[in-house]
């Protein structure tokens, strides 16, 4: 038994019927996992990484087709068990899984205690009291204060971070051999993200439990995993120890991914980004699936399926090129001109002592609670400047944005745009001064309107130009934001996230405003698409002389584009200054914790870890 790995997966494929066509979401995925080992599965959305994890846990939808040569966990052959048998014997016992959305992953109508304790049925070996004690022990071990009291609470009474911890505790009730975590920290704030990952690592060591962590964030994977598997469009393009793969990436896609992570850049330089978007595989590709987007593409890449080559012992990749040849990772994008435009002295936007409080009457029985969302905030923004407003969710940055947009009157203080108070500016005038761009590409466009209508709506509303002229202006603006003209009559539902965000930007700039207030414009997008949008914003700044108030929790993005930074915490601006000073020497303690918890791909640390091979940790029977 000792020889065979805990988990063995060979040639796993998943196909999904979509209407009449078949989507090959996962093709020929092969990997193994030792007991207690941690594997990071990385890829952009649509790469099939989550589909693979669901296939393991037998949670695919009813009409999905799962095929594999070998699918084995310990001595259990997963292929042989039907759903009923799998649920009864393995699910929640030998294998467990936690998911991305903590807010909706717990049953809203049962208490935390009920949901945890229903994992193990009282039997001869375990009385109900034992189960309850174990639940309390696990909650405390996971770091949840006052664990006893929590059992009676309901999911909606806990924060996102706490709920994710409850999920983890729940899944560990039966000491599983393998825990699959599908984007466990994506929906959480940066500070909470770090603590959850630390917790997962400790538990892995303590319980000798194998872990598969699925994520789109290379930083998260690089800091915590032993092995890494990079997936693209349903295929495993590169696997191997983290240090080798990230230290010396062989597959062009992995190299492209690493290069496009926003990191320290000087002034206006553009981010390198992989052109095009991830394809949906409705037909089995002949050649290499990355060929259309690969800068080293050769003729045979389009026809023959590349073989699996090995760079070192178990560092494998699927590409025709020989290993270890030094390659230029990405073509340097033509940085048109470093932003010569110095921020002009006259201030465009100035907010003085802005304050706003909400009274929340939450439940039918709960008393009204008043919450100060924005507390005495003063902020100036000069023309051509990009100010980044950084803070975690609940810090009041979105409320401040609505006040600056003039859509919500502040309780105290006033906001001036180009000298006049935003409240008294008539709506049409204000529209020509400031426009918003929102986070979620899905809900920022009216699903029932075509792209042309959405972008053209502001012109139509303001009654300028005839319909023909309007169409011409819309097409020009679409060109400006990099949208092909043929999408004019398409519906948002037919566009990708990135394209939809371009439409939203086009709508915002068509009235030629001076200031764009962007609330988390890229955080809902993939890394590569994120880079394209940031480049677009920088281009527009140079061409149209726009200035931005960029609201985000992603310090990497701030580092890349912002000129000045304002850090917000519980409604107050705790620190304000230009980017380099704040990033290099943060003054306020909160800024320091914020910067500290950012997980970056740290090349030197990886190199160091690559030297001593991952020895077998003794399986400490702590939790018998």
């Amino acid at each position: 038994m000792a020889g065979r790995p805990l988990l063995e997966v060979r040639n796993l494929s998943v196909t999904l019927p979509v209407g009449e066509r078949k989507l090959h979401a996962v093709r020929n995925v092969t990997f193994t996992l030792e007991r207690g080992e941690a594997l990071g599965v990385v890829g952009e959305s649509g790469s099939g990484k989550s589909m693979t994890s669901l296939a393991l846990m037998n949670l695919l939808p009813r009409n999905a087709i799962r095929e594999a040569d070998v699918l084995r966990l310990g001595e259990h052959d997963l292929l042989a068990k039907d759903r009923q048998e799998f649920s009864r014997s393995l699910a929640g016992k030998r294998m467990a899984m936690i998911f991305q959305e903590p807010m909706t992953s717990l049953n809203p109508v049962y208490t935390i205690g009920q949901q945890i304790m229903e994992m193990t049925l009282p039997g001869p070996a375990r009385s109900a009291k034992d189960i309850r004690d174990r639940a309390v022990y696990l909650l405390e071990r996971i770091g949840i204060p006052d664990a006893g009291g929590r059992l009676k609470q309901y999911p909606h009474e806990l924060s996102g971070g706490l709920r994710q911890r409850v999920m983890i505790a729940m899944m560990l009730m039966n000491e599983p051999d393998l825990l699959i975590a599908d984007e466990p920290t994506t929906a959480l704030d940066v500070t909470v993200q770090a603590s959850i990952l630390k917790l997962l690592m400790e538990l892995r060591k303590e319980l000798g439990m194998a872990l598969i962590l699925v994520s789109h964030d290379l930083g998260v994977v690089s800091q915590s995993m032993d092995k890494i598997a990079v997936m693209y469009a349903g295929e495993l393009v590169e696997t191997g120890p983290v240090a080798d793969v990230l230290g010396a990436p062989q597959h062009p896609y992995t190299q492209g991914l690493l290069a496009s992570i926003p990191a320290a850049r000087d002034g206006g330089a553009r981010l390198p980004s992989i052109p095009g978007t991830v394809p949906a595989l409705f037909a089995l590709p002949e050649g290499c699936v990355f060929a259309p987007r690969c800068i080293h593409v050769q003729p045979q890449c389009r026809t023959i399926r590349p073989p699996v080559q090995s760079a070192q012992n178990d560092h494998l990749y699927r590409c025709v090129m020989a290993p270890d040849s030094q390659r230029l990772s990405l073509a340097k994008p033509p940085s048109a001109h470093t932003s010569t435009a110095k921020p002009s002295p006259d201030t465009l936007l100035s907010a003085r002592h802005v304050g706003c409080t909400f009274t929340i009457r939450a439940g039918m029985l709960a008393k009204a609670r008043s919450l100060t969302a924005v507390d005495d905030v003063s902020l100036d923004l000069a023309e051509g400047e990009i100010v980044a407003l950084v803070g975690e969710s609940g810090s009041g940055k979105s409320t401040l944005a609505r006040i600056l947009l003039g859509l919500q009157a502040p309780d105290t203080g006033e906001v001036l745009i180009a000298g006049t108070p935003v409240q008294s500016v008539p709506p049409f005038e204000r529209a020509k001064l400031v426009q918003p761009v929102f986070q979620d590409p899905y809900s920022s466009l009216n699903p029932r309107k075509t792209i042309g209508q959405s972008i053209g709506r502001p012109l139509e509303l303001h009654g300028q130009d005839s319909p023909a002229e309007r169409k011409k202006i819309v097409e020009q603006t679409m060109e400006l934001v990099g949208l092909p003209k043929r999408l004019f009559n398409n519906y948002p539902s037919q566009l990708s996230g990135g394209q939809r965000q371009r439409v939203a930007i086009a709508r915002a700039i068509i009235l030629k405003p001076k200031l764009l207030i962007c609330d988390e414009p890229t955080s809902a997008l993939d890394v590569s698409v994120q880079a394209q949008i940031l480049n677009l914003l920088l281009d527009l700044r140079d061409e149209l002389g726009l200035s931005y108030l960029l609201i985000t929790h992603d310090l990497a993005v701030v580092d890349c584009v912002a000129t000045r930074i304002a850090v917000m915490h519980r409604g107050k601006i705790v620190e304000l200054g230009n980017k380099d000073d704040i990033l290099s020497s943060p003054g306020h303690p909160y800024t320091r914790t914020l910067l500290g918890s950012v997980l970056k791909v740290d090349m030197p640390a990886l190199k160091a870890r690559a030297d001593h091979a991952p020895e077998m940790q003794a399986h400490t029977g702590l939790l018998r």
Partner: protein, 308 residues
Amino acid sequence: MSEMDLSFKAAAASETGGELLDAAPARPKIWRNILHHPGLMLGLTILGILVVLAVFAPWISPYNPYDQHLPQRLLPPVWVHGGNAANWLGTDHLGRDYLSRLIYGARVSLLIGFGAASIGCLIGVTLGMCAGFFGGIIDRVVSFILTCQLALPGLLLAMALVFLIGPSVGVVILVIGFLHWSYYLVVTRAATQKIRDLEYITAARAIGSSRLQIMVTEILPNLFSEIIVIFSLEVGVAVLAEAALSFLGVGIQPPTSSWGLMIAEGKVSVFLRPWLVILPGIFIFLLVLAANLVGDGLRDLMSNESRR
């Protein structure tokens, strides 16, 4: 990151590579779906037949439904012994041809069905949108009106209106329309509340559109799918309501023929002349069935559409 969204159709099609999907606008897709949604097709065909009957009644029906032949009253249909070929479905109490009255009945019932449903739609959707969008006082006032309408017996309203304005199909439509808008209100109000806080509404405000413009151009188009579904269900409800009102003697006035009135008149001899009740009953059944099938079919279509 909706990649985890369980309904894989949506995730696969929209998230992975938008370019690959054919760029043609969505409309023809809906049309292709209608063709192979059996319930919807059945509903539309039945509705089509009934509309044709109603519109071309004068040319289709063998006799004028109003001229009476007392000696030939209460003839049974041709397949019952005693029936004659002149009147396929026999004659009614005053010797009028039953088939002609059934065909003309389609006119009244369809008119009432669609008329009342439209009035109900108008009232219900406007109130629903205002209540949903503005909330606060307006919401409370609307729910006050709704509770009053539910508590007031429909018959009372029908009697008073028939007395004040006089009996006509128009009054019956008005009465039934006025009594059946609560379903619209509830659904529209809930949908508007959901949409009200979405980002494209804030964006619309930012470009300067007024509240009314937002309601009409941004919110209303998103409600069409639900409204159409309710409209088709309410057509059925309206026809049944007319039948009940006629049954209680406050609905359609003679000599106009409506299926509800024909059942009310024929009901008294149900034991020995069951066809007087069964024939109009079948027609009402078909109309309401068709309306529900169309309603459910559209709902299935719309729900797939919106989730994609």
